[in-house]
Symmetry: C2
Subunit: 336 residues, 2 copies
């Protein structure tokens, strides 16, 4: 008896072919990826900022609807946002793709999509790893993860430490659930629900749910250039409370007035998800929150909406308090 | 009906608890990890070198034998070797852990182990992501991946381009299959085989197979300090041919005389794996190969063994040729 790796479920040739194509794209067949950083010498005290993330079970929804072309953007944008909120300029990205069975054309599409998302933001795609693990992944399943590295001047790190009472809370819309809550979503909706056209969405529910994770890099840079931005929170798993809490200093509380739920989140809630659970899992239509000097609010572009303000508190266990907007149509930039 | 995320199979509280513990360890609850790099200013032309990897289905073997304490070291050492072979000094590491069901005590153990492996090498653990995806991973399964970032002076990059005919090939032993070939291994051996003591190994087969991926950072630094090292190859999936080929310049061929197979690889081969397949999948006992000026060979520590030399060739399709050692006991440092 002769046993091959292929019989054990791993197609080394497909992996080698993919690896070759990826190398051509990356310009290296070496063990590591190279990013020259002579520019770092212009920083007085350069600090590298990194983040690693996955896009969770959004891969499964995409695979079941055969719409996988946005997943590369999802992981790149998710990672970029996580370091942009600290004031960092992204330098390079590396991806990690793992499959039940290596599907070369899917893997190629993912790498192409990642590469395009990086190029559009001026980031190098410095490397990647593709794994085939039939014994670990369920049939037809795959995982998309990645890590980003950027740089920020030490004195320019945005981490919430300058937040003070009276600061304004302003937010930018999300494009949907981004990359959070997809296990719950798939427990709620069957394929028929997902493929059905929802006239008010102008789209099928599935396509609306697969909208790419919005990238906030440009908006963050623009806001930071105004001065007076004291903290930025990327709203992902854990929702507004879980994520905004990460940057709120002791003794202060963010009082957030939730804007009306976008339709896609109302459709989810209508399937029987409690308001508490919705807040714990989803971004509820707000993908980024900035805490800033209230004097800069009116200089922000119209896309930003005022969500509340920062007050003093003795209740350090609740650094963020959410209230549903009293008027379902209030979404202007006036402070309440 | 009220549906919670937990009913959909994701335990956000366990994830938050873990995240809290990891944050305590990392000293940040922020969106990205911070690594000050003032030292980079001492480089004339700093180049960041990165690599991303996973440890494949070794996780499954470890889980089935309930010996998971070495997996953190596996991923850190795998990644460190991949940039050390280019002459880079590792700066920081980020991990990605994904589970069918989040097992907090396992996740804690993995993060502890990763943290210890990083500390031992003077590397920062700058961040990590933990995902729970019951719909994507098989029951009881998990994935361990990570990315490393290091730095090298542009002029000091080791990439094989200085390799020339007459150079010596020297190698360092592996500690076992490291992190390659575990799907095949688990197709060959059942739990009874793995738990059985193999007297010649002084260990059970399972424990021998779970030996941690050896880290070559110290040995590589020492060799580089001698000057005359023209290329370094980390032998992982793809074996000696697949990996050494990555650094061999056109027109040159590495003629490698394979040392006798260590017992653990003979036990694998004895289950019916062809010699060709063995060479394609496993490191066969050699985890690192250096291509260097033959004059430095005798100044290398005794752990290095001579494996062959570089010759000119017109056969660019075969940059590495393997031959089985004629004398099964020849393992000295004399060149043949």
């Amino acid at each position: 008896m002769t046993v091959t790796y292929e019989e054990a479920g791993v197609d080394l040739q497909a992996a080698a072919d993919l690896s070759h194509r990826v190398q051509m794209k990356l310009g290296t067949g070496l063990f590591g990826g190279f990013v020259p950083v002579d520019d770092l010498k212009e920083y007085e005290h350069p600090v590298l900022v990194s983040s690693v993330d996955g896009i969770g079970t959004k891969t499964r929804l995409a695979a079941s609807l055969q719409v996988t072309h946005g997943l590369g953007r999802d992981i790149v944008h998710h990672c970029v946002n996580d370091i942009a909120v600290h004031g960092a300029t992204p330098l390079f990205f590396v991806d990690y793709l793992a499959f039940h069975r290596l599907d070369s054309s899917l893997a190629d599409r993912l790498v192409d999509d990642i590469d395009r998302a990086c190029s559009a933001l001026g980031i190098s795609l410095a490397g990647g790893e593709t794994a085939e693990m039939p014994a670990v992944y369920r049939e037809g399943c795959f995982d998309v993860a990645g890590a980003i590295v950027g740089v920020v001047e030490r004195g320019g790190i945005v981490d919430g430490s300058r937040i003070r009472a009276g600061d304004a809370l302003v937010g930018l819309p999300s494009s949907g659930p981004h990359t959070s809550g997809y296990s719950l979503i798939q427990a709620l909706f069957g394929e028929e629900d997902l493929r059905a056209l929802v006239p008010e969405l102008g789209n099928t529910l599935g396509d609306a749910l697969l909208a790419s994770h919005r990238c906030y890099l440009g908006e963050i840079r623009q806001a930071l250039s105004l001065g007076g931005v004291h903290g930025l929170a990327h709203i992902t798993g854990g929702g507004i409370v879980g994520n905004l809490s990460r940057i709120m200093p002791a003794g202060l509380q963010a009082a957030v007035e939730l804007p009306p739920l976008p339709l896609v989140f109302r459709l989810i809630q209508d399937r029987g998800v409690s308001a508490t659970e919705m807040r714990r899992v989803f971004n509820l239509g707000i993908g980024l929150i900035a805490v800033c000097d209230r004097r800069i609010v009116e200089r922000l572009p119209a896309d930003w909406r005022v969500l509340g303000h920062v007050v003093e508190t003795r209740d350090d266990a609740n650094r963020v308090v959410l209230e549903q907007s009293r008027s379902p149509t209030s979404n202007g930039k006036e402070m309440t």
